[in-house]
C-alpha cells in the first residue's frame, strides 16, 4: 500500500435515481461533517423520477477546500449501466467498490477492487420487501464506514437527523449499516491508502442548502406574500417557505401574517407577487431560467411602475429547457437586461448558504427601499446541495419599508404629494398603498407613460425626465447594494473577479496558482449589480482582471465591459459551462494558459 492519505480525497457514488440512495449519500456526508472533517456533497442527478444513472460526489478535505474536483479516488457503483464509466473514473491508486451482482469485466490492476454483496445483504435485512431497495444503500454506507474509518456514532446521528428521530427507521437503517461494516471487517482486506480521522474543523458550522436558507432569510425579512410555479431547481425554495412560515409567522391565535400561492405559471407567479408588492406587501417569487424568461414582461412593469418585488432565480443550465438538473451561472446577462426597453436591473449574487439567508431579507429591504424588482441569482449547486456554512445571523437592521405615506403623513402634507416626483434627489419617489383612507392617497398604477402624478401622458419631455430619474434611482441603488468581498494578496499582479457559488473554487485556485509558480492573485467576489465603487477601485490595481464564471459567454465579462468600457481591455474572460460546478484546477489552468500567452 502506498502512503496513507487521510482526510483528503473524493468519493463518487453511482446509483440509479429513485432508489433512495440520496439518504445514504447525505448520511455519509453528514457523518463526515460530524467527525469534524470539512466536506462538500454534490448531487449530479438526472431530470427523471426513476431509473436513470445518478452520481453523488463527496469531497473530504482537511484544509477546508470544498469545491468540486474532477478526480475521484474512491468510486462506489451500484449501477450496471454506468459501471464501465465509473470504473474508468477511479484515479490510479484509488479504490472501486461495486455491487457484486453486476457481472461485468474489471480490467484494472492499478486500483483496489472491492465487491459488495448488496443484494444478498438487503435480502437478509429485517425489513419489508418494499423497503429492501432503500435499505440496500445502507450496506455501502456500512462498508465505506469500515473501510474508511467513519465513526459509527456519527452515522447514527446523521440517520437520526434524517428520520427526525423516528426510532424504528433509524434502527433498521443503522443495523444494516452495522451489518455492512461487519461484513467488510470479515471479508475485505484494505489495500488502498484512503481513510478519515476525526478533526475539529467543522465546529461553528451547520449544514444546509441555499434554497432553505433563502426561504428562511425571506421569512426573517418579513415576507408576506410569495407566489411560485414548480421548477427545478427552485421548487424547494418555495416549499421551504411552506415548511417554516407556519412555524415562525403565525400569531398566538394561529392566524397567518403571510400567504403563499402556487400559481398556474410563472407569468402569474410574478404577476401575483407584483400585485402584492403594489399593495404594500413584502413580496417575492422564486424560479429558474425558463420561468425568468416568462417573467420578462412583468419585470419591466415592476421596473417602470416602480413596484417592490423580489425574484429569486436559482439558475440551471440553459438555453431552453437545457439540463434542468445541472448547474450554471448562465442567466446573468439575461436578468441584468430582463424585459424590453431601457433599463438595467438590480441583482444580488449570494456566494454561500449563509449569504442566501442574508440576501433573503436584504432583498426585501432593497425592493421596498428602491421600489424596484430585486433579482437574487443563486444556482442549482448552491440552492440544492448541502453545504457546510456558518450559522444564519439574525438581521442587524429593522425592516426597511421605504417611502410609504399613510393617512397621518398625507394630513401633514395637506394631501399634496406626487407619486413619481423626485422629492429627495435620490430618484426614489414616495408611494401610497391601497387601504389608505386619505382622499388624496389614491393613484393609478400603469405601465404606460406617466407624469409625476401617475397620469397618462405621451409628452416627450415628461417621458425623458422620468427615465432620467429612473437612471438616477439606479445610481442610488449602487450605494445601497452589498459591497464586494475582497481577498487582497500581498504582491498580487492579477485580479480575479467571480461571483456566486464559485467562491470556494476561486479560493482554492488562488493557492493552486501559487503552488504552480503562477502569479499572485487578488480576489474580488462580486455580490451585486450595479457595481459599487469598490469594484472600480479593485480593477485599477491590477494588470489583468480575470473574470471567472460558469457560463459559455463570459456574461459578467460582457456586463463589466459594457459598464466600464475604459477598463475592458484589461479584462480576460475565464468561463466554462458543462453543467458541473467549476473546479479549482480548471481555473488555475485557464489562468496559467492565458498568462503564458503574454
Amino acid at each position: 500500500m502506498t502512503k496513507e492519505v487521510i482526510n483528503d480525497f473524493s468519493i463518487t457514488i453511482a446509483t440509479v435515481n429513485g432508489s433512495g440512495s440520496q439518504t445514504a449519500n447525505v448520511t455519509l456526508l453528514r457523518a463526515l461533517f460530524k467527525m469534524g472533517i470539512p466536506v462538500s456533497g454534490k448531487n449530479l442527478f438526472p431530470s427523471n423520477i426513476q431509473g436513470l444513472p445518478t452520481w453523488y460526489t463527496i469531497r473530504i478535505n482537511k484544509d477546508g477546500f470544498v469545491a468540486r474536483r474532477d478526480e475521484q479516488e474512491l468510486v462506489v457503483t451500484l449501477n450496471p449501466v454506468s459501471f464501465a464509466r465509473d470504473l474508468a473514473s477511479v484515479q490510479p491508486g484509488g479504490a472501486f467498490f461495486y455491487a457484486d451482482d453486476i457481472k461485468l469485466p474489471i480490467a484494472r490492476s492499478d486500483i483496489s477492487i472491492y465487491p459488495m454483496p448488496i443484494k444478498q445483504m438487503a435480502r437478509a435485512a429485517n425489513v419489508s420487501p418494499a423497503l429492501r431497495d432503500y435499505i440496500a444503500n445502507m450496506v455501502y454506507v456500512g462498508i465505506l464506514a469500515h473501510m474508511l474509518g467513519i465513526d459509527m456514532e456519527t452515522i447514527r446521528q446523521a440517520l437520526s437527523f434524517h428520520f427526525k428521530g423516528k426510532a424504528q427507521a433509524v434502527d433498521s437503517n443503522f443495523s444494516t449499516v452495522e451489518a455492512g461494516a461487519e461484513w467488510a471487517a470479515q471479508n475485505l482486506k484494505k489495500t488502498d491508502p484512503y481513510s478519515v480521522t476525526k478533526m475539529d474543523s467543522t465546529s461553528g458550522y451547520i449544514m444546509a442548502d441555499g434554497n432553505t436558507a433563502a426561504a428562511l432569510g425571506a421569512i426573517y425579512g418579513g415576507l408576506q406574500f410569495a407566489a411560485w410555479y414548480p421548477i427545478t431547481p427552485a421548487s424547494t425554495l418555495a416549499e421551504s417557505l411552506n415548511i417554516f412560515l407556519p412555524q415562525l409567522r403565525k400569531t398566538s391565535e394561529g392566524k397567518q401574517t403571510y400567504a403563499v400561492m402556487q400559481a398556474e405559471d410563472e407569468l402569474a407567479a410574478i404577476g401575483m407577487a407584483i400585485g402584492a408588492g403594489w399593495g404594500g406587501l413584502r413580496s417575492m417569487t422564486s424560479t429558474s431560467g425558463p420561468g425568468i424568461s416568462l417573467m420578462a414582461e412583468y419585470a419591466g412593469l415592476a421596473y417602470f411602475a416602480e413596484v417592490p418585488v423580489v425574484i429569486w432565480d436559482v439558475q440551471r443550465i440553459g438555453p431552453s429547457t437545457g439540463l434542468p438538473t445541472r448547474t450554471a451561472q448562465g442567466d446573468l446577462t439575461g436578468v441584468y437586461f430582463l424585459s424590453h426597453g431601457d433599463k438595467q436591473n438590480i441583482l444580488l449574487l449570494p456566494g454561500s448558504v449563509q449569504e442566501c439567508f442574508e440576501f433573503g431579507w436584504k432583498a426585501l429591504d432593497l425592493a421596498e427601499h428602491l421600489q424596484a424588482p430585486i433579482f437574487v441569482l443563486s444556482d442549482l449547486d448552491l440552492g440544492m446541495n448541502q453545504w457546510m456554512t456558518k450559522p444564519f445571523i439574525y438581521p442587524d437592521t429593522p425592516l426597511e419599508r421605504g417611502k410609504v405615506l399613510w393617512e397621518s403623513d398625507l394630513e401633514k402634507l395637506k394631501g399634496i404629494w406626487s407619486r413619481y416626483k423626485d422629492s429627495d434627489g435620490d430618484g426614489i419617489p414616495f408611494r401610497t398603498v391601497p387601504g389608505n383612507k386619505h382622499p388624496s392617497a389614491a393613484w393609478f398604477g400603469r405601465g404606460t407613460g406617466h407624469d409625476e402624478n401617475a397620469r397618462y401622458t405621451e409628452d416627450a419631455n415628461t417621458w425623458e425626465s422620468n427615465m432620467a430619474r429612473l437612471k438616477k434611482k439606479y445610481d442610488t441603488a449602487r450605494t445601497l447594494v452589498p459591497k464586494p468581498i475582497i481577498t487582497a494578496t500581498k504582491g498580487a499582479t492579477i485580479g480575479i473577479i467571480a461571483y456566486g457559488s464559485t467562491e470556494p473554487t476561486v479560493e482554492e485556485a488562488l493557492i493552486l496558482l501559487k503552488q504552480a509558480g503562477g502569479p499572485n492573485a487578488a480576489f474580488l467576489r462580486l455580490r451585486a449589480l450595479p457595481c459599487t465603487s469598490e469594484v472600480q477601485d479593485f480593477i485599477k490595481n491590477y494588470e489583468h482582471i480575470y473574470i471567472v464564471e460558469a457560463n459559455r459567454d463570459g456574461q459578467l465579462h460582457q456586463i463589466l465591459s459594457a459598464v466600464l468600457p475604459d477598463q475592458a481591455p484589461r479584462f480576460r474572460s475565464a468561463c466554462h459551462s458543462d453543467g458541473l460546478p467549476l473546479t479549482a484546477k480548471w481555473v488555475k489552468e485557464t489562468i496559467l494558459a492565458q498568462e503564458e500567452k503574454q
Partner: protein, 346 residues
C-alpha cells in the same frame, strides 16, 4: 346672492362627483363609457367609499376605462391579459377592500384566458367585468376570440373559428357568479353590478359592449342593433342592499319573484319574465347558454350564483389587521428563534 343647492349625497356623505373619473378618451357612443357610468352609479347607490375599492385592468380599450370612474380609488392598469394575476396578489394587501376589474374580450378570452380561468377557480373576491365587443379596438379592428363565425371585418376577412363564450368558460371553471348583460341595457347593467359588488367571491360580468368604430354592423352579434333586437332578458333584476328593508310589493307581484340572498345580507330580486329561471343551478346555466347559442339570442341576466363557497382570501386564515399595515413585531420572528432554526439544520 343665492347659495348653490347642496349636492345630493348618499349615506356615505358623498356626492356622485366623488365617484367620477377623468373624462373618457374612448370613442363617442362606445359601450364601455356607458358601463363606466353604471359603475359610478352602482357604487354611489351602494354608498361604497371609493377608498375601499381597488380597480384593475389589462390592456385594450376596455382596460383604459378604470381611469374614467372612481378617481379616489387605487388602480392598476397592468399588462395585456394579466389582470387576473396582478389583482390576485393585490387582494391580499388589505382584505377589507373590494375590487373591480375591467377587461376586454381580447384581454380575457385570447391572451389572458388561462389566468382568467385560474382566478375564477380560486374564487378571488373581485367583480370581473368583460367589456365584450368581439374585436380588438386599440390595434384597429382585428378579430378577438369572441368574434362569431362568419364575421366580416375590414382588412381581416371572414372569421372561420368558433367563438369563446366567456360565461361558459367561467362556469366551466367553477365561477360562483356569472352574468351577461348588454351595454345598451343600462338599468340591468347597474343592477347586476350592484349584485356583483355584494357577491362573496368572483363575479364575472360578460357585458356585450359594441365597438362603434370597428364592429357595429347591423347583423354582427356585438352591435347595438343586433343586441337591441335579440336581447332576451331572463328576468327583471333588482338589487336591495342589506341595510334597506326589503319590500316586495307593487311591480313585484307575489309568485313571480325569485329572491337570492347574498352573503352580506343583501338581496337580489329576479322578476319572472317569459319563464322561471333558477340561477342557483349550474346545470340550468349550461343548458341556457347552450340553447341560446343554437337559437341565436342574446340572453341577459344573472345566469348563475353560489354564495356558499369560501373566497380565495378566506382560505388563508389571515390576521384581522390588513397585511399591509403589519409592522416589524408581527413580521420578523423574534431574536430567540434564530438559534432554534440553526439548531434545526444539521
Amino acid at each position: 346672492m343665492t347659495t348653490p343647492a347642496p349636492a345630493q349625497t348618499n349615506k356615505a356623505g358623498l356626492s356622485k362627483n366623488d365617484y367620477r373619473g377623468l373624462p373618457s378618451t374612448l370613442c363617442q357612443g362606445c359601450g364601455h363609457n356607458s358601463i363606466a357610468n353604471q359603475i359610478i352609479t352602482a357604487c354611489y347607490d351602494l354608498d361604497v367609499v371609493p377608498e375601499q375599492i381597488m380597480k384593475f385592468s389589462g390592456i385594450g380599450c376596455s382596460s383604459k376605462s378604470p381611469a374614467y370612474f372612481l378617481n379616489r380609488s387605487f388602480g392598476f392598469n397592468g399588462l395585456h391579459g394579466r389582470m387576473s394575476s396582478l389583482a390576485t396578489g393585490a387582494l391580499f394587501a388589505d382584505i377589507s377592500l373590494r375590487a373591480i376589474g375591467v377587461s376586454g374580450d381580447g384581454d380575457t378570452a385570447s391572451i389572458g384566458l388561462g389566468g382568467f380561468k385560474h382566478m375564477v377557480r380560486r374564487n378571488a373576491p373581485i367583480v370581473y367585468i368583460v367589456e365584450n365587443n368581439g374585436v380588438y379596438g386599440l390595434t384597429k379592428g382585428q378579430f378577438s376570440a369572441t368574434a362569431e363565425v362568419g364575421l366580416d371585418l375590414k382588412h381581416q376577412g371572414i372569421n372561420q373559428y368558433m367563438p369563446v363564450d366567456i360565461c361558459m368558460e367561467a362556469l366551466a371553471s367553477n365561477a360562483t357568479f356569472v352574468a351577461r348583460s348588454f351595454a345598451g341595457d343600462a338599468k340591468q347593467v347597474k343592477e347586476l353590478l350592484k349584485a356583483a359588488l355584494s357577491h362573496h367571491g368572483v363575479a364575472v360580468l360578460d357585458i356585450i359592449s359594441p365597438c362603434v368604430t370597428f364592429n357595429n354592423q347591423e347583423n354582427a352579434i356585438h352591435s347595438y342593433t343586433w343586441g337591441k333586437d335579440h336581447e332576451a332578458p331572463l328576468h327583471e333584476i333588482s338589487f336591495i342592499p342589506a341595510m334597506d328593508e326589503i319590500e316586495i310589493q307593487g311591480e313585484f307581484a307575489e309568485g313571480t319573484v325569485r329572491e337570492v340572498s347574498m352573503h352580506d345580507g343583501s338581496t337580489v330580486l329576479l322578476k319572472k319574465l317569459e319563464k322561471d329561471y333558477d340561477p342557483t343551478s349550474r346545470a340550468n346555466a349550461f343548458q341556457m347558454l347552450e340553447s341560446v347559442q343554437l337559437n341565436n339570442w342574446l340572453v341577459t341576466g344573472l345566469l348563475y350564483i353560489d354564495e356558499s363557497k369560501p373566497t380565495l382570501t378566506e382560505t388563508f386564515n389571515l390576521v384581522d389587521t390588513p397585511l399591509n399595515r403589519l409592522t416589524d413585531p408581527e413580521l420578523r420572528p423574534g431574536r430567540e428563534t434564530i438559534d432554534k432554526i440553526n439548531g434545526m439544520m444539521f
